[in-house]
């Protein structure tokens, strides 16, 4: 077997995306490009109050408007709950500004909008709460019955002897970081088409990361068999952790379609986009760290307070508690403690920010590590290197690393960025910072893949994994091409329709390359085995001695003893037995004794150095350069890996420096792309990439994730700012205003 990237013919090459021609010519189809015969347009009526009682809903006027075909309220979906705390449409209570109360479907968008205005809803406003403090205060209103003190989840867990480890530490400190809500700014707004116009059959078109999840959830909630929910997953205009499960508007479109017996499209317009999808909510981390004087990390404790908003997003559930695994993920420590409390408020319900909010925990931790390093007189890079995990290690939470390039990443990023020459040696208001991260390649799950081979030797590869731009389809085609020894252009990926797709829970949790990649490899090996029989007969050699490469099948010892791949396919098809080559592959996590949440086999690691300049008069940060090293196991497609790193540095930069939904009493004050501050093309840094290969024993060709691994290293940016101004900013994003306050506060010390 090949051992380095050079031994591969397809893998490791800079492969432009196979759907590039479609996308650059505007021919790629997105949901809003679909116009079904008889399709209506829907509009949702949303609550203008943050908490209130619904007194009455009057649809008479709207019904009278020409062009209106259906109006739905809670009476059209009685008892249907999308999560334990949330109905499809509110019946008696509304809990946030934007809560869905009614909806209308009409012949065009204008008529639907006009009809929505004509639906009269009378509310009795009730006392509302908008912060962790308010919702936890004595006498605060209870938002959901059964959730006393509005506590949605309360979870504490220890590993190791926490008290002892802190007591033994030479140096202990506590610090906190708070994070304001942000938004993922998907280029493609939320949109869905639902066709529920025939009994018991529902078709859904919507940008998403998991057609299977939508199929399962919508089927079970609407009471139809999941196979009768057909999800068309076309192109998805940005996902960033935010498009995993079905959303409220998916269900509303379905019930409108059922009532009107016609397909219905709902597209979120302008500021509605922000209401439908606030990214991360408000949260706070209090981090306690204990170290020895030589920098050895003894223990860490994270207290996590999270405002989940008015409802609990069910897809969040798994990852909330998963997070404690992040604490000892990068570094050795003797003990750790996780204290989590999640509360309801009347803010919009929160979803994931890009990076699933893993960045924020890691950021809070790494901020503290930098400070504690300063306090014991140590270079933070050295402290991180000293405590870094390595191959063969098992963390405190029982996660085992079969491959690990963290130390190599730190070393390489330090060298490339000339860390030693710059740290503490830069001019005033110039700073350098390091951030380290780790990321799971999926969870405990499974993926399937199917291939069929045409007579001309071209492959159709059937997968259920979406490509939201990360290049997963191109990567899967590369794995297939490598395994069968053909050109990547000879592989056509068939995906986007649950009727044709094998089992796959989707593209999230950084699972695509690892899980679907393994399934694709297995499917191709299955096909190869069938082809090898024909080729072996023809060449008169054993099947085990055959090599598939460069469009040929040959005897390894004598490469000139060869047959063309396509001829083998054709000969197999027309042989006496007659065999159409189809391969199937299924990969699932082997059963382990480890905890269910962590039984993925591969973890990736990264280290990042950022260099900044801060203007002391304005507080404006210029991000000069980012050097990122990522252990991807094996680089399937370096061009796509760089693209993943770029996008995550951009998102991390936004979450850290500028992106914030400014809230006032449950209302987003800046719900437009003009007022919501993201970086522009002239503000992004110079990038330097270092790909570290550790050849994971379980990964397909040794590959691991690069999905959201790089974003959890972008605290390099805030660490660099802290280094530049000498006083860590604690409230994120660290806007110019907050930076100026920190500079001013430092001056007073």
């Amino acid at each position: 077997m090949p051992r380095s990237s050079n031994d591969y013919s397809v893998i490791g090459k800079r492969q432009p995306k196979l759907d590039g021609p479609l996308k650059t010519t505007g021919r790629s189809q997105f949901t809003d490009d679909i116009d079904l015969p008889g399709m209506l347009h829907g509009k949702i009526v949303r609550s203008p109050v943050a908490r209130g009682k619904i007194i009455s809903i009057d649809t008479t006027k709207a019904e009278g408007l020409t062009g209106v075909k259906a109006i739905v309220t809670h009476e059209d979906c009685p008892g249907l709950m999308v999560s334990p705390d949330r109905k499809i449409l509110c019946s008696d209570r509304v809990n946030f500004i934007g809560d869905e109360v009614a909806a209308v479907a009409a012949v065009d968008e204008d008529t639907a909008a006009e009809a929505a205005e004509l639906i009269r809803v009378e509310y009795e406003p009730l006392e509302a709460v908008f912060s962790i403090e308010e919702t936890s205060a004595k006498g605060a209103p209870v938002i959901h019955e059964g959730y006393e003190k509005n506590i949605m989840d309360d979870y504490n867990i220890d590993f190791g002897n926490v008290e002892k480890a802190f007591a033994e530490a030479d140096h202990v400190r506590v610090g906190e970081c708070t994070f304001n809500p942000n938004h993922n700014c998907f280029a493609e707004h939320h949109v869905v088409i639902a066709d529920y116009s025939l009994p018991g059959k529902l078709s859904i078109w919507t940008p998403n990361q998991s057609p299977l999840y939508i199929q399962k959830s919508m089927g079970s909630i609407l009471g139809i068999s999941e196979s009768n929910v057909r999800v068309f997953n076309l192109n998805t205009g940005g996902a960033f952790s935010g498009r995993i499960g079905p959303r409220q508007h998916n269900f509303i479109a379905a019930i409108l379609s059922k009532k009107a017996s016609r397909p219905v499209k709902i597209r979120c317009a302008a500021d509605e986009e922000f209401v439908v999808y606030p990214g991360g909510g408000y949260f706070k981390y209090i981090i306690k760290t204990g170290v020895m004087n030589d920098g050895t990390l003894k223990a860490m404790e994270a207290t996590y307070l999270f405002d989940c908003g008015a409802y609990w997003n069910s897809s969040f559930n798994v990852l909330l508690r998963y997070k404690y695994h992040l604490i000892p993920q990068n570094y050795h420590m003797e003990a750790m403690r996780w204290k989590e409390k999640t509360v309801y408020t009347n803010n919009p319900p929160n979803m994931y920010p890009h990076g699933a909010a893993f960045l924020q925990l890691k950021l809070a931790q790494e901020t503290e590590l930098d400070i504690i390093a300063e306090e014991i007189g140590m270079d933070p890079l050295e402290l991180k290197f000293k405590n870094a995990v390595a191959k063969g290690d098992t963390t405190l939470t029982n996660v085992h690393y079969t491959s690990c390039g963290l130390k190599e990443s730190i070393k390489k990023v330090a060298k490339k960025s000339s860390w030693k020459k710059k740290f503490k040696k830069l001019p005033p208001f110039r700073g350098i910072g390091i951030g380290c991260g780790a990321m799971n390649s999926g969870g405990p799950d499974k993926s399937g893949a199917l291939i069929k081979i045409g007579e001309d030797g071209k492959i159709s590869l059937f997968i259920g994994l979406p490509d939201m731009g990360q290049g997963s389809h191109t990567a899967m085609a590369m794995i297939a091409a490598e395994t069968l020894g053909i050109a990547v252009e000879d592989v056509e990926v068939v995906a986007g329709d649950t009727n044709a797709a094998p089992f796959d829970i989707g593209a999230f949790g950084q699972r695509g390359t690892f899980f679907t990649g393994n399934a694709v490899k297995l499917a191709c090996l299955d096909a190869r085995k069938q082809l090898a029989e024909t080729a072996a007969k023809k060449l008169g050699v054993k099947t085990s001695l055959l090599v598939f490469r460069d469009g040929k099948v040959f005897y390894g010892e004598e490469p000139e003893k060869a047959v063309l791949f396509k001829d083998v396919v054709s000969q197999t098809l027309h042989s006496e037995d007659g065999k159409h080559i189809m391969g199937k592959g299924f990969y699932h996590t082997p059963t382990t004794s480890r905890e269910p949440w962590v039984s993925t086999l591969a973890y990736s690691f990264g280290a990042q150095v950022a260099e900044v300049e801060v203007d002391p008069d304005t507080g404006i940060v210029t991000l000069l350069k980012v050097t990122h090293a990522h252990d991807v196991g094996r680089a399937i497609n370096p061009l796509a890996i760089e693209g993943q790193i770029d996008g995550q540095v951009f998102s991390g930069m936004g979450q850290i420096l500028s992106e914030e939904c400014v809230m006032e009493k449950g209302k987003i004050l800046n719900p437009t792309m003009l007022n919501y501050r993201h970086a522009r093309s002239f503000e992004v840094p110079e990038m330097e990439y270092i790909i570290v290969e550790t050849n994971d024993p379980y990964g397909p060709y040794g590959a691991k994730e690069v999905g959201e691994g790089p974003i959890v290293c972008t605290m390099a940016i805030s660490n660099a700012v802290n280094n530049a101004i000498g006083n860590p900013v604690r409230e994120f994003p660290i806007t110019p205003e907050r930076i100026l306050q920190a500079i001013k506060a430092k001056g007073k010390k």
Binding site: G20, D32, C185, H678, A679
Partner: protein
């Protein structure tokens, strides 16, 4: 209420009846079925719907269709054919500047308007021209790179 207008799009003249409040992006997509021009914020903030009118990049979500009558409009559909892609399109593909692809037509049209006017822009000019587009996937890093490479390739041809 509707007025009959003639729209010149990609060299073809269309006679269309439109309401006065309808935007160019809606008419392009709905009446002319030119869905290559995407629609997103409809507030002139994201650049996704950029087309070229009389040689200038404009936001088709902020242009009323009736105001575009008599002007020459170019959309992404005019770039590339069965014979091959436009150099900008090829450069975007080769340099990894395409990810989800939703903003791509708008970014390419913005770049085309720049290069039509100034075939030799420096880095600053490219970055400034693309400042009105929004691309979270690439973080603008490889889109800027792709335009730079297209400019270099153009120079080499000459």
């Amino acid at each position: 209420m509707k007025s009959i207008i003639t729209l010149n799009v990609n060299g073809e003249v269309h006679e269309i009846a439109v309401n006065p409040w309808r935007t160019l992006v809606d008419v392009l997509r709905e009446d002319l079925k030119l869905t290559g021009t995407k629609r997103a914020c409809e507030q002139g903030a994201c650049g996704v719907c950029t087309v070229i009118m009389d040689g200038k990049a404009i936001l088709s979500c902020l242009a009323l269709a009736v105001d575009c009558a008599g002007h020459s409009i170019t959309t992404i559909e005019s770039l590339g054919s069965s014979d091959g892609l436009h150099p900008l399109q090829q450069s975007f593909i080769d340099n990894g500047a395409v990810q989800c692809g939703f903003c791509t037509p708008g970014v390419i049209m913005t770049a085309k308007a720049l290069l039509d006017e100034n075939p030799n822009p420096d880095d600053t000019a490219i970055k400034e021209a693309l400042a009105g587009t929004y691309c979270r996937c690439t973080g603008h890093i490889k889109t800027v790179e792709a335009v730079k490479k297209a400019v270099q390739a153009g120079r080499e041809v000459k």
